[in-house]
């Protein structure tokens, strides 16, 4: 992944065209609705949020492997920071410090060469890091010589590292794949469309609650609608992975359609348990960073391991 390679890559150029068209059409539709006197103020705020986020994300992808891995690590750090602020873990500097360090090490493992195999991305270290980081977190109370309330802090820190750090960082490791552009751009685009589809389908035909004690506004119809659209989208975007068989394309759609909503529900029950509405207010019209990337956290590791198991990250013959 380099800037030159990105600008000569048909998959990247196609996605740029699709994203620009999607944003243009959405903006036009909102402008028409506004002219018709419809109240679309909150959607405009969300749309403006997209106009800021999309160029930043695309820049990270276009600038190359290093920029993308750093970008994912920064998102993981900021996401964990939101989680630590929401749970109160932020007051424990040792625990949060170890998680931040763990995320930096994950990014390093994603970036450096494997010393035995000689290619980019040290997969063995990436997979082994949770054991070391969790071990280090478990040692903190021993060094502090404290026991009261330590289990809660340890549990919060481990969940924070594993979920927002390790699982999400799989997205960064994908930058080492031969089809990195296709995988990454597909995930970024399809996961967001899946979110929008779940919201829209739920609004239009939602009747039955999906999990009323976790997220009362999510509906079964919204979830099914999003799954169907994600399956269709995977087929429409199958140029992203030309080496996939038809059922593998279907699987990619399933991973996004189901994993995306599971990620959303995970953040929802975390927020509900804490008793907050949003994980933050960093992105106007969207909430916090975790409110935006929640779906990706579940999708990225599943997609990564399925792809790696089926094709490997590098062994795919160029078609």
């Amino acid at each position: 992944m380099t800037l030159d390679a990105a600008l000569q890559n048909d998959i990247v150029l196609t996605y740029l065209l699709i994203i620009a068209t999607a944003l243009g059409v959405a903006g036009l539709a909102l402008a028409i609705l506004t002219a018709l006197g419809k109240n679309v103020g909150p959607i405009w705020r969300t749309y403006r949020g997209w106009l800021v986020m999309v160029p930043i994300v695309l820049a990270a992808v276009l600038l190359g492997r290093t920029a993308f891995i750093i970008g994912v690590a920064l998102l993981a750090i900021l996401g964990f920071k939101e989680y630590a602020r929401a749970t109160g873990l932020y007051e424990d500097w040792w625990m949060t410090g170890l998680v931040y360090l763990g995320i930096v090490l994950l990014a390093t493992a994603s970036h450096v060469q494997d010393p035995r195999l000689g290619h980019d991305g040290w997969y063995g270290l990436f997979m082994a890091l949770p054991a070391y980081v969790i071990g280090a977190i478990l040692l903190v109370p021993i060094f502090r010589n404290e026991s009261k309330g330590q289990l809660q802090r340890i549990a919060l820190a481990i969940v924070g590292f594993m979920y927002f750090g390790w699982m999400f960082s799989h997205l960064g490791f994908l930058a080492n794949a031969q089809y990195a552009y296709g995988y990454i751009l597909y995930l970024l685009f399809a996961v967001e469309i899946n979110d929008v589809a779940a919201f829209t389908c739920g609004k239009i035909c939602g009747k039955h609650k999906l999990r009323e004690n976790i997220s009362p506004k999510k509906t079964l119809e919204g979830a099914i609608g999003a799954l169907v659209i994600s399956l269709g989208l995977a087929w429409a975007l199958s140029f992203s992975f030309p080496h996939f068989a038809w059922w593998e394309v279907l699987l990619a759609g399933l991973i996004v359609g189901i994993g995306g909503q599971l990620g959303d529900l995970v953040i929802s029950y975390i927020k509900r348990d804490i008793g907050i509405k949003d994980m933050g207010a960093l992105i106007k019209g969207h909430g916090g960073i975790l409110d935006r990337v929640d779906s990706m956290i579940f999708v990225a590791p599943i997609f990564f391991h399925v792809v790696r198991w089926l094709h490997g990250l590098r062994e795919v013959p160029v078609s």
Binding site: A86, E91, Y100
Partner: protein
Amino acid sequence: MTEWEYHPAPDLDETLAEHLRNFPRQPYMLLFAIRSLAALLLRAWMRVYHRLSVDGRENLPSTGSFILVCNHTSHLDTLCMLCSVPLRQIHRVFPAAAADYFFSSLPRSAVSAILINALPFDRQVKGAESLTVCSELLRNDGNVLIIFPEGTRTTSGEMGRFRSGIGRLVAGTDLPVVPCHLAGGVRAWPKGKFLPRPRKLSLRIGAPRRYGNLDKSSDGVREVCADLHDAVSRLGSNSS
């Protein structure tokens, strides 16, 4: 099983702009790490580029809260003052900064809040409220407030009159007020210039003064201002 108790940060629902502007700030690890790194780089830059010399560090009180007052010649003044206190104290040092200038946009707010740890001081509408925030800050042990009593940077190089805020803050209290004088600021970064020049800067720190014997009447306030103005001027004339 009993439920866990969570204690979300009080600023959880704040937007980035509010987060940067609101005071006091929460002690976030990332924020402290970035500020510490910035303080290290700042010290290196001031030492190399401006050959900053600091005399009288022994006058800084080693315990309790105190106020640093200095003549205001350029934006470098705050940076020099930050370099005068020990690095371990950097997160407890709060330069009072004009809210209408230093917190007027997101980038300025980010630099002021994250790197400088500035306290937004409303010098136009809510001056009294800002002074209350300063008083509360100084009530906690170990905090350092940096104030430029002239209220704005000089253009002529001459020190202007001290505004009454510092007098209202310290008259009748036992808070140590440390007078400082910075020489070279006008030449190093004149008002209106975009970037600083590599000119030498000298900071002199005087002995702390206390004004517990004065009351908060207008006479008391005036006396504080006159005494501090005199102390800062004398530090300047001694150095030249």
